[in-house]
Amino acid sequence: MDTPHKIFSPARLWAIASNTLLELVRLKVFYFLLLFALLIIGSSAFMLDFKFQEQFQVLKDMSLGSMSIFSWLLAVLATAMLLPKEIEDRTLYTILAKPVPRLEYILGKLLGILALLFVSILLMSVMFVIALYIKQQAVLTDAVRGLPPEQTADVIRGVKASAFTVSLIPCVAMIYIKSALLASFTLLASTFATSSIFTIIVSFVVYFIGHVQGIARESLLASPNASALSKVFLAFVSLLFPDLRLLNLTDDVVAGNAISSAIFLKTAGLGLSYFCVYTLAAYLIFAFKEL
């Protein structure tokens, strides 16, 4: 053997990741969803005729909403078919029969998905910024028409502040982190699930329960006198499910709340720790899986 075996090889990891990305990019559902999202974001620049605060708000809501739906859907759907397809096509055997540690294999797959999500969100963000800019210019022209000069500067500043708020950046970052979390969870589900459909259903169920986990958790912590049965149930939901509502900053960013860096870092950290735990869990199950 010329090349000595490396315990962890970034080149190997990258080979699997880029191959996964290539495979995913060919999915028709990816193009369909992406196009749809881009259309929605783009068209929101030309919508409706409300007061300017409303215009920006609706635009942001629709764009960020499309971005969210698209990336979460993609995260679940794309990840759900990764492993089952490779097992069915037997390409998994060919790859694992090479000196590839299972950890690198699963990390490589996950990295491919993350790359896909990143590229999609980037594209949508660019479209979003363009739409917001178009809207801002339209609103500015309207707003300064017929105004005395000393008020113009104020109004311009007001409009611009309404349009591009700094908080949009952490908002988009959290959309990405949340989709990464969903991808890692779906990967975990696919390691022990019997079919892609089952994986998808499980992931969607967890998605919905994750949004009410906060209510369960606060109930559990606030009522020490509740019955044992309800405590067990609440504990089950609180411990095992992620609080996805906490990871959602869109509603608040659109409402004009400023996101402090402390809150953003904590929220991002929470999301990332979920991501790591689910990835680790997926690896553990996959490592012992009989193929």
């Binding site: 053997m1 390409t91 694992l96 090479k98």
Partner: protein, 302 residues
Amino acid sequence: MNIDPQGLNTIPAISIRNLTKVYPIPFRRERVVAVKDLSLDVLPGQVYGLLGPNGSGKSTAMKIVLGLISPTSGQTQIFGRDSSEVESREDVGFLPENPYFYKYLTGAETLHFFGKVCGLGGAKLRTKCAELLKLVGLENAASRRLGGYSKGMLQRIGLAQALVQDPRLLVLDEPTAGVDPAGSREIRDLILDFKARGITVLLCSHLLGQVQEICDRIGILYHGVLVREGKLEDLVSIENQTELILENSSPAVLEQVRALVEKSGGRVVETRKPQTTLESFFLDVTSGRRTAEEPPHVRRKE
């Protein structure tokens, strides 16, 4: 079981010791014994045929050797390294049954990918890929997507990817299944070529005629148990008979030979014209080299 000792210094390419694999059936008391106390060695340079009906445990044993499944008990090693170690797979190339690979990649890209996965790269990988494509006869189809490959071509690219890291051992699962006679012939020639280079080959196949042609040793698995194992010639030769093929001998000479044999106490069992195989005949006809009228020639294993 006869483990053929060819010198205590030779590390077997594959070493299986008391391998047992039991699958529990969920919700039931019974279990399925896929492989039971299997022990065998495949020595370097051999072409070993692992045979058996469906469900006999061949695939299971193979997957355990390749580290894809873990054994219930027993041990498997590749060139002395335990199958559970990732490093043991540096020396082995695997061609699974009916592989699909990635349909959207071209032949060259596929090889490239598997090379990268093995840790190869750069110019060395590119030369290696070109070499392998030439070896398996796919250099003209290298830039075509695998989606457009025939079954035989897929098998050949499969062989190429199995070879990309220069393994000392090849494990082939049904390499010629579903392949037309011409492609099948080419694959078998390739296997013989590998053998000539010193690569060990473990072969699983249902096509016993083909196995007979290329394997040195065989093992027959039945319900997870190795029921027969040994050198092919020893196993299939009919002990007390000899085949003698004569050319340009008149019927008078044949009579003399017959008399001689019977005088010494033997028996002439059968006198007939030797036949070529249907396969050779078919290949000769379809390759366009000959027509059906030309006299056939016998194809022999050296």
